[in-house]
């Protein structure tokens, strides 16, 4: 699909710019853009029209690695959504440096902070983030690999690959604004259905925007957004009929968001 999307874009003379691999900086201990990174950027491209309409003012990435995603997001929103505040974090000090180089090479600006998830931002940035993107370490590994340091931090996800994801979700929920959107990469082994149910309990609707299988893994990019129908539904669990009605309502309200002309 990656290739077909490019073909689609050039056929319709729509040169949406994303980060260029040759301009992405690197370091032996920093995750290089991979299938999961490309899938996330393709999801952002597929949702571009909605993103432009959304007019976010604060966008954030957790775990920016090489900077490929945050740079692409800046370029995708580009001039059409001016004056956005972009901020990205990574626990790996080399990663934020490499991200800075990647941003510089593309001539764009984003703020970078080295920290665990969003620890030093949770208090003041709560409820302010309109778009959050996360490609977390999601590979199932023994639990002790998660905190071993080095390049393993980029992919080691502990049991079912959920260790870091399960720490990120409540933070995302805290930081997102009422109209905030979260785009997250998951692996089938992470049990994305259960993640969606978890988020549903917190009032978030979800949709898989991109699904992709490679030889090694099967990835999905999930978009989450706050849905007042679901919040009502959660409050109305005592009244099953009302609950069922608003569940259908929330499904219907998703239809206009589905991009056309895309294979999923």
């Amino acid at each position: 699909m990656h290739r077909s999307l490019h073909a689609f874009r050039s056929a319709y003379k729509m040169p949406y710019r994303t980060a260029q691999i040759r301009l992405v900086s690197s370091h032996p201990e920093v995750y290089e853009p991979c299938d999961d990174s490309f899938a996330l950027v393709d999801a952002l491209l597929a949702d571009r029209t909605n993103l432009l309409e959304h007019q976010p003012s604060i966008c954030m990435e957790i775990g920016c690695g090489s900077g490929y995603i945050i740079t692409s997001l800046v370029l995708i929103l580009g001039q059409e959504v001016p004056g956005v505040y972009y901020i990205a974090t990574d626990i790996n000090p080399h990663a934020v440096k490499v991200t800075q180089e990647t941003l510089n090479a593309h001539g764009v600006l984003a703020e970078l902070v080295c920290m665990d998830i969003a620890s030093g931002l949770e208090k003041r940035l709560a409820g302010k983030v309109d778009v959050m993107v996360v490609n977390p370490p999601y590979v199932p590994t023994p639990e002790d690999e998660v905190s071993r340091g080095g390049i393993a931090t980029a992919w080691a996800g502990g049991e079912n690959g959920r260790s870091v994801i399960d720490r990120i979700l409540p933070v995302a929920e805290r930081l997102l604004s009422d109209r905030g959107w979260l785009y997250m990469v998951t692996l089938t082994a992470n049990d994305p259905k259960e993640i969606c149910l978890l988020m549903r309990k917190k009032g978030y609707a979800s949709r898989i925007i991109v699904q992709r299988s490679t030889e090694e893994e099967s990835l999905q990019i999930i978009k989450f957004w706050c849905d007042s129908d679901i919040q009502d539904l959660n409050e109305a669990t005592s009244s099953p009929r009302k609950a069922a009605a608003s569940f259908v309502g929330s499904l219907v309200s998703q239809f206009p968001r589905i991009p056309f002309g895309k294979s999923q």
Binding site: V113, L121, R124
Partner: protein, 122 residues
């Protein structure tokens, strides 16, 4: 690091009850001009802790922000350009952020704050 980022950062060291705002230690400040966007500034104004911004601006050598500000002032282009400059154009390139309660220093190198905590601080 721009002062908008400084305005969003706090110290999360174990036992610290109010880790905001972090004190700035300046070694090197740089300025990067960016286009002024009035809508963005109006949007972000209510989210900014004004006192912390004024103090941070002063530390960085920019003392032109008024001590108090309100929404009405956003109609003044002179105010907007000062607000814009302080919030988005001043960068702490080298220095440190200091926890207001413990004095612990978080280094800022090449414009990037390192807020990682040691094991005994979590």
């Amino acid at each position: 690091m721009r002062l908008l980022t400084h305005n969003m950062l706090s110290s999360k060291i174990k036992g610290v009850s109010n880790g905001f705002p972090l004190r700035i230690e300046v070694e090197k400040v740089i300025e990067k001009q960016v286009e002024l966007n009035p809508d963005f500034l109006k949007n972000i104004f209510p989210k900014v802790d004004w006192k912390a911004l004024v103090e941070a601006g002063r530390t960085m050598g920019f003392a032109e922000l008024p001590e108090e500000a309100d929404l009405l002032m956003l109609d003044s282009s002179e105010f907007l350009s000062k607000f814009h400059h302080a919030l988005l154009e001043l960068h702490l390139e080298e220095g440190a952020l200091v926890c207001p309660e413990t004095g612990r220093k978080f280094p800022v190198n090449k414009g990037i704050p390192n807020m990682l905590l040691h094991e005994d601080e979590v």
